[in-house]
């Protein structure tokens, strides 16, 4: 017998356990009673109704989205679009049955397409999203929504106006079950008094893409120029800043920071080395730093409170308790891992005590097999399908009715929405990132006006 076939919990068992425990959290509870007589197990699997998708933008991230969609049974890709033929060809290779378009307006004319994913360069989002919403398509728009507050506001306002379509910004962390459960844990007050948070994106990479012609080179390297990019704090930091808004349960009141082109002096005018600091209400603050010149500690984040610190990295989380923090009880049995003079209590959504202890014996890294992007796209498709079905059921039962009646019905329906960021979350994260980038460029602090965060 191979070692992994012993009674030790192997990876496959763990994965099965994960889906079981995820299922349990869906059911909303843990077993407390055994049934008196247990009937045979039923074989209901349940099936999510498909929503046909068009993907606009087949660059690196667009292709990552296509790959992820190919693993989701209820998100058939029926159309792909890119105005650069080489990218369109590569995108189409990942969705062989999809119609190909060089012009997004033609894709939007395709009545077969029910939902679109917009994965073009950020500064090109607005026109595409507005046209898609006007065409009645559900829209998943990559984050940040835009490079200017005006464009971001136009997108969010249009999305909120369209009652009958689902809009989701690409803040995938908001759909990630691991993070959602972690937030629920944080909301129980486990941090004590929240103090601060910090996060980082460290990677050794130029962020520059090679291209065949100077024009193409310019277009593909939109991230490196201020005219088309809000830089590291915008393109990468937006997810971290959104997490700060979400976990700290508020909006920043001020932002300051420093940035420089420290290493890649190749004609770019976007900083490759930044540190930004945000002030939040109630004496809390948050810092985000990013560099393209060093990869130490990669991507991670920590929230600090008077009772503990919670660290997130590689889609896992740990709790480091203060000695005077109240005893929660369960942590006595929990798996702990050592980090240079510190012992972190492993936090994982839905893990049972038995699973955790088996895992401790195994000592293997365990990560949720589903990526944050997969959670986000699945939930986008589920919410889009449910919204469309709700709109149709309402019209068939009550006629077109008034907008207020429909709105009231849909607001009620939205309470059952699968975890996902909404237009306002996307807008606020984008405004936070845009202003953070502006503060870096100006080299001066910016005080946020409350109305900047309001869509209308």
């Amino acid at each position: 017998m191979k070692p992994h076939e012993t009674t030790e919990l192997n990876r496959r068992e763990f994965l099965r356990g994960t889906s079981a425990t995820a299922m349990m959290s869906l059911l909303g509870g843990v077993p407390i009673l055994a049934a008196e007589s247990t009937p045979p197990a039923t074989s209901y699997k349940g099936e999510t109704p498909p929503v046909k998708v068009g993907v606009i933008g087949c660059g690196t991230w667009g292709r990552e989205i296509l790959k992820t969609l190919s693993t989701i049974s209820f998100g058939p890709v029926v159309a792909v679009c890119d105005n650069y033929p080489a990218f369109l060809k590569r995108g189409a290779a990942l969705a062989p049955n999809a119609e190909r378009y060089g012009d997004y307006t033609k894709l939007l004319d395709n009545r077969d397409v029910e939902a679109v994913v917009v994965a073009t360069p950020t500064h090109l989002h607005k026109d595409i999203v507005l046209a898609a919403l006007a065409a009645g398509k559900h829209v998943y728009c990559e984050a940040p929504l835009a490079t200017t507050v005006e464009d971001a506001r136009a997108i969010a306002a249009a999305a909120r106006k369209q009652l009958k379509v689902n809009f989701q910004p690409g803040l995938q962390v908001r759909s990630d079950l691991q993070i959602v459960k972690l937030l629920e844990f944080v909301r129980t007050g486990v941090l004590g008094t929240p103090l601060k948070g910090r996060s980082q994106f460290h990677r050794k990479m130029s962020w520059r893409v090679a291209a065949a012609t100077p024009e193409r080179e310019q277009a593909m390297n939109w991230r490196l120029h201020r005219a088309t990019s809000i830089g590291l704090v915008g393109e990468l930091g937006v997810h971290h800043l959104d997490l700060a808004n979400w976990f700290l349960n508020g909006l920043p009141t001020a932002v300051m920071g420093v940035g420089a082109i420290s290493f890649y002096k190749d004609g770019r005018d976007v900083f490759d080395n930044v540190q930004t600091l945000l002030r939040y209400p109630n004496g809390t603050h948050y810092s985000f730093e990013a560099t393209l010149g060093n990869s130490f500690d990669a991507e991670m984040g920590v929230f600090f409170g008077t009772d503990c610190a919670i660290m997130m990295r590689e889609r896992r989380a740990w709790m480091f308790k203060e000695v005077d923090a109240p005893l929660l009880g369960w942590e006595v049995y929990a798996v702990k891992e050592s980090f240079y003079k510190e012992s972190g209590i492993v936090l994982r959504a839905g893990a049972t005590k038995q699973d955790a202890q088996k895992e401790a014996r195994k000592g293997e890294d365990v990560v949720d097999p589903k990526s944050a992007l997969q959670y986000a796209l699945e939930n986008f498709l589920i919410n889009s399908g449910n919204l469309a079905a709700g709109v149709k059921d309402f019209a068939e039962s009550y006629g077109e009715g008034s907008d207020e009646d429909l709105r009231a019905y849909l607001q009620d329906l939205a309470k059952k929405r699968a975890n996902a960021a909404d237009a306002l979350d996307g807008y606020r994260a984008t405004v936070t990132a845009i202003k953070a980038n502006e503060a870096l460029i100006k080299g001066e602090p910016i005080t946020f006006a409350r109305e900047w965060f309001e869509v209308s």
């Binding site: 909303g28 055994a34 049934a35 247990t38 079905a389 709700g390 039962s397 077109e400």
Partner: protein, 221 residues
Amino acid sequence: MTMKAHVISRTTTAILAMALTTATQAADWIKLASKPGSKVRMEGTSSIHDWYAESAIIRGTFEVEPEFLTDKTLQSVKSLTTRETNPKAEIAIPVRSLKSSSGQKMDEIMQEAMNMKEHRDIVFKVKEMALQGEPDAAGNARFETVGDLTVAGKTQPCKLVVALQRLDGERFKFSGETKLKMTDFGITPPSPNIPGMSRITTGDEVTVKFEWLVGTAAPAK
């Protein structure tokens, strides 16, 4: 005439008579249509916790004499006070509109258990409705109601008390509740086998509560 032919003849006459009655009803009865604000809720149990599923969608019409709108005593509304004639009422609840307390996956399991692919709606068809006691001064009343309930394509008779509430001149609320067994409709109560856990079992009995709003304004298309 043989006995058999005689029976057939009597049956034909009865059918003809019923058809004629229906024709006269249709000519002067009013048709009230479903209105937003309707809701239905199913409540059940399981070995881990109670659950519910609810929907705000009830499709259907209620056909009755026009006096129903104005006569709060209902004395002139024969379909509701005698058993000879009955209002014509049929409601349908799309299975997909039912949202459970346990999220999307359980909704999908519920849809599969109710064989939604072949039977998209839960249907209730009123056969008899008879006033119970007297309506109160506001015209609110209760009715002993008998109908056919169809779930997952299987029909069972269903008896319940329905309350009428006159909301305003134009809208009326019918509400009631009844208990059902999933197995009576050929549905096996979901009992998922989840590794690492004791079996979760769902109770067979389900309580259904509804509030159906109907009104006189333009009916659903």
